[in-house]
Symmetry: C2
Subunit: 120 residues, 2 copies
DNA sequence: AGCAATACATACTTTTTTGTATGTAACATA
DNA sequence: TATGTTACATACAAAAAAGTATGTATTGCT
């Protein structure tokens, strides 16, 4: 009676957890969302699009996304350097989810503004 | 030329970010997913279903979910105490997203096992 | 009186994540 | 020879999240 989980349920736990580990970072979803909206972007373009992300965090996050194969990284052997980032197929498969989240968020924000007395 | 974002895009950023703050915790999505799968659950039942979550984290996470109105908390004035948790309507609206994430995760896990030489 | 059941609370420590500040490489151009 | 451009790297500090251990309240039952 201690553990009444079946295998299927355990896999389900893991899958939600597994997925969350790959996109759970502070900026991951946003980066994926931007790559989706804008297509191929250079490092500097990403940086200028999201000025609140420091270069350290941007690089770090991009590396993690690349390791998990959610984005593609294309390096041009030129000076000054040129590196392009884009969504991978696997990363692209996460877009419907981010979109849902995005719509949900928009709706919630609207609701909170509506309920906010100070805002009236 | 420094900031070429328009208002619409800024709202989009915020929405993804906003949403992520509400379900970004280590256990939040899992708890919501379980409440969806099982319906109404008592504190102890949740705890037994997810034995890897300490009572401190479970309580803390449940409180945050409650504050953000993603779950309902119903207290029965009895001894020993009885408290029931369930998805709120707003929380329920997140289920399609968690489900998507869950399916994506399952697929990725399968893919990784397939690619794993050691597993063969 | 002592114990069990249930749903927590709280002080404190450890770990993880994020931020700050500064530095580097390579070449083209002034 | 100095400067600008681009895409980072790295040491260190701060902040946030999570974990550990222990305690509490109430009441029925033995």
């Amino acid at each position: 009676m201690k553990n009444n989980l079946n295998i299927t349920e355990n896999i389900q736990i893991c899958a939600v957890d597994f997925a969350f580990k790959r996109i759970g970072g502070k900026y991951k979803a946003r980066i994926l969302w931007y790559l989706f909206l804008k297509g191929v972007l250079r490092y500097g373009e990403l940086s200028r699009t999201m000025p609140d992300i420091t270069t350290k965090m941007l690089t770090q996050t991009l590396r993690e996304l690349e390791e998990d194969k959610l984005i593609n990284r294309k390096v041009y052997q030129v000076v000054p350097p040129k590196v392009e980032y884009s969504l991978s197929e696997t990363g692209y498969e996460l877009i419907p989810f981010i979109e849902h989240l995005h719509n949900w968020g928009k709706k919630q924000i609207a609701k909170e503004i509506e309920e906010c007395e100070v805002c009236k």
